[in-house]
Symmetry: C2
Subunit: 213 residues, 2 copies
């Protein structure tokens, strides 16, 4: 094991894995992928990954800078669901569903971003306890921030969480039906058709109100 | 192989598997499960299952009565998505989302129905070509019949298919988020809260119109 608090490259090499060795980096990535997938982002600690990989936690920071960067690299994510939502929260609550839907579809319609996300989302187990990573995306990276934004706009906390959760479920449905199952004609629809039709419906889920034909 | 056209029990036993033997029945079920999962309901023929199982196609009818019954039994489905939608299509188009959402949630909230459906839905591959069964549910058993109902109500065929597909994607999202991922608080919400909040939004997806707060 490396010395505690070590944060520079192989300053005092110990008997464990050494910084600078490609296999150390890969061991960290492998351990991280396993932990994140099994336990989700939030519950996974850098310390646990370090223990699994047989390195000091400081070496992870040395290599990757942050838990989030490690996460992105371990899962080969070029578009990280955790970083996509926050910028959309700025601006009106009314426009929020349209902004999020646009970002979601632009990201997934891009094959470069899609492949690793597809691997992630299609990896669902029929044992719900094993779906921790996707659950943590939904709860912590999508529904959670939307609920917070709704309470800022004046909605009660329980109602905000319920409405944000319902909206998040709809986004999951778009992803599964269009990119994982590739149901037609939905998968072939122009992005703008989906946005124009679904954004008002999502707005109603978030904000309530009435529908007039 | 059994004689062609044979439909009574082991009338003229041939060299192949015999009716009445439990292993014959099981061989048919195994072959059916593999075919349906790989190719979907529509593309799978009873003849292909019979060939895989080494029996005459008539023996499948003898044992199971119909392709649909065989499907239900092969997948151990007590609630078959194919049979859930058609009864909801009767009645007004405006009320359709509420009726379908109610049936969907009642079915999945029942643990007895949920387990086999969960195994089916969570069995998604990151290779979309392998998701034929779920694709055939979405296209042929959910979106298709809804689109037909919309055209009966006067909508053009392309628009009807697009809107029905968008609505079907929302139903998938509810199932994945609530039962497979078990995202909270969405998974804990009362059924009626989800129905009351989401039915008007789904109605807007199906019928268009405007949202007023």
């Amino acid at each position: 094991m490396m010395n505690k608090g070590m944060n520079k490259r192989a300053e005092k090499p110990g008997p464990g894995r050494r910084a600078g060795q490609p296999e150390t980096r890969q061991a960290i990535l492998d351990a991280a992928r396993a932990r994140f997938t099994a336990e989700g982002f939030t519950a996974t600690t850098v310390r646990a990954i370090a223990t699994d990989a047989g390195v000091d936690a400081a070496m992870i920071n040395y290599f990757f800078g942050s838990k989030q960067k490690l996460f992105e690299e371990a899962l080969a994510l070029r578009a990280n669901p955790m970083t996509l939502i926050p910028p959309q929260l700025k601006g009106s609550v009314e426009g929020l569903p349209r902004r999020i839907l646009t970002t979601l579809l632009e990201t997934w319609d891009n094959p470069e971003f899609r492949s690793p996300l597809l691997a992630l989302v299609s990896n669902l187990s029929d044992d719900p306890t094993e779906n921790a990573l996707i659950r943590s995306f939904l709860e912590d990276s999508i529904a959670g921030p939307i609920a917070t934004r709704l309470t800022e706009a004046g909605l009660g906390a329980d109602m905000a969480a319920a409405r944000a959760g319902m909206m998040a479920s709809q986004l999951v449905g778009v992803v599964i039906a269009r990119y994982v199952v590739v149901a037609r004609p939905f998968a072939d629809l122009q992005r703008q058709v989906i946005i124009d039709t679904m954004a008002p419906a999502l707005e109603m889920i978030l904000l309530g109100g009435t529908h007039t034909r």
